[in-house]
Amino acid sequence: MRFIGRDWRDSLGRYIQRRILINIPLLVVITILSFLLLQATPGDPLNAYVPPDAALSEEQRDALRERLGLDEPLPLRYVFWLGEAAQGNLGFSARTGQPVTDVIGSRIGPTMLLMVTSIVIGVSVGIVLGILTALTRNSVLDMALSSAALFGISVPVYLAGLVGLYIFSVRLGWFPTGGYSTPGDSSFLDVLYHLVLPAGLIAVQYIASTMRYTRSSMIETISQDYVRTAQAKGLPFRPVVLRHAFRNALIPIATIIGSYVPQLLAGAVFIETIFAWPGMGRLFVESVENRDYPIVMGLTLILAMIILMANLITDVAYGLIDPRIRYD
């Protein structure tokens, strides 16, 4: 055995370093692509850097253009743009004139709240249902839940959003039809009341696939020899399932938790639009509709960074959970 004690920790450190290093060129390529897309947008690129209401003479504009390096060749312009972006200057909204970072910054919180809630709902409900169906394999309950999961995976998030809104808010009236909180009331409970339905609907596909993963992973571990040994020793059913089988079944499940972040972000675009949730997804759609390019590109960059971070965390978590995983 190579990976024991210090050796194991060293190799884990190397593994994490490698994962971080792999992500750096990816980030560079993504910034280049965002920059090139921004260049492809119509209009004077200077406008992105000046608040629209600022009255500037032609001389002032030229001076500013020179200072921002906008008359330099493309590769140099990229370096200047990257320098500005690294300092948090992504330009100004073409519509409201607010700095892009301010506009996006105020939207990150609500989106994160939505994402974290739907991950919590997706993982917890998915795992519980997965264990349940694995233990009652081929029963009526299992077959009903398994086909529901198959259906759940095929239903696109925008349709789940519309139908969920129609049933739970419009017809049954259990939840509000949209928004972040009731005007004048921003207490935690009120936000939670507005949060549950959209988060649950983003989580539909997530619940379905977590359940399917958990089910097959549990079925596989339950039939392992060490589980049979534990049962043969006379241990009661529940500790065997939870302590012996479930902990090992968790390994493949842990990997899909992080790999779902990109899809959850895509889901947030739709659900935030349907539920008027003031997050990045809705801002994205609004900005695309308004042709507010500085905001669109700023959002793309930030979403890319979130996705890369999530991938990195997934890889590291995978390495921590399963000592067998090493890519040397």
Binding site: L26, V29, I30, Y166, L265, T300
Partner: protein, 298 residues
């Protein structure tokens, strides 16, 4: 060999001459195995019905899908308008079947682009590598819908742009599949043999390697159509894909973003939603059936 075969048949009371002992053609084996997959067959029937409805739309629909009738706005279902009318008085049933044409066409056309580009680059990557695979890494980092939205922000919406965007942004998956298969084939004996007798690379790729990736491509193309239909519907739902008056299932759902339409005019958006779910579910079942039918290991 022949003796053994005739003996076996004689033992079971079947008389077969040597000529009659045939090897079943591979596609026949595939069809036989596909037919065993009951959900896949049912799904194929459903998709054929949907396709027939879409293609035969001019015969089936009693109304022009884009004929505006301001005297008959937001009507409920009736004998004249089976699914009612929308807010400009257009017949919802006609729009649903004509939208089937658009949605299926977007699905198939963008998959043709995606598979074409993906298979070509995948084949090249199987021989060369690196640059192509690194670019698929970048593209697969993002959910396609976010990339497509970003690019659509610049190019603007439209039917052909939607097809091109979906096709050109979903090629990494077939590319990776073809590459993986090519890497495997590269080390197989029949490819070595072809190389030893002096066959040029192009011929090896086309005549020897390519027939062995067709199964992967068929399955991926099938699942790709479902994914493309979902992407198109998603884009059009946000108002950034296919634009009215051209009907598509996605832009029919778009009206449901208005809460009063969602609440009161159920028939304007529900048929399109049901069509999307059932088509996607059916296409995915067909894909599963094909995967099992074409897999030689099963």
């Amino acid at each position: 060999m022949t003796d053994h075969a005739t003996q076996t048949h004689r033992r079971y009371g079947v008389r077969l001459t040597e000529r009659e002992v045939k090897i079943e053609a591979p596609w026949r084996v595939a069809i036989r195995r596909f037919r065993r997959h009951r959900m896949a067959v049912a799904s194929l029937v459903l998709i054929l019905i949907v396709a027939a409805l879409a293609i035969g739309a001019p015969l089936i629909a009693q109304h022009d899908p884009s004929a505006i009738d301001l005297r008959a706005r937001n009507e409920g279902p009736s004998l004249n308008h089976w699914f009612g009318t929308d807010r400009t008085g257009r017949d919802s049933f006609a729009r649903t079947v004509y939208a089937g044409q658009v949605s299926l066409m977007v699905g198939v056309a963008s998959v043709v682009i995606s598979i074409g580009v993906g298979a070509l680059l995948g084949a090249l990557a199987g021989f060369t590598d690196s640059v192509i695979m690194r670019s698929t890494d970048v593209m697969m980092t993002f959910p396609p819908i976010i990339v497509i939205l970003t690019v659509a922000a610049i190019t603007g919406p439209g039917l052909w742009k939607t097809i091109a965007l979906i096709g050109l942004l979903t090629w990494p998956i077939p590319c990776r599949l073809v590459r993986a298969r090519f890497l495997l084939l590269r080390n197989l004996e029949f490819v070595h043999a072809a190389r030893v007798i002096g066959a040029p690379d192009g011929r090896i790729m086309l005549r020897h390697a390519f027939p062995n990736v067709i199964d992967v491509l068929i399955v991926n193309a099938t699942l790709g159509v479902a994914a493309a239909i979902l992407l198109e519907a998603g884009l059009s739902f946000l108002g950034l894909g296919v634009q009215p008056p051209i009907p598509s299932w996605g832009n029919m759902l778009n009206v449901a973003r208005n809460i009063s339409t969602l609440e009161n005019d159920f028939w304007q958006w529900a048929p399109a939603g049901i069509a999307i779910v059932f088509c996607v579910l059916a296409i995915n079942f067909i894909g599963d059936g094909l995967r099992e039918a074409l897999d030689p290991r099963l």
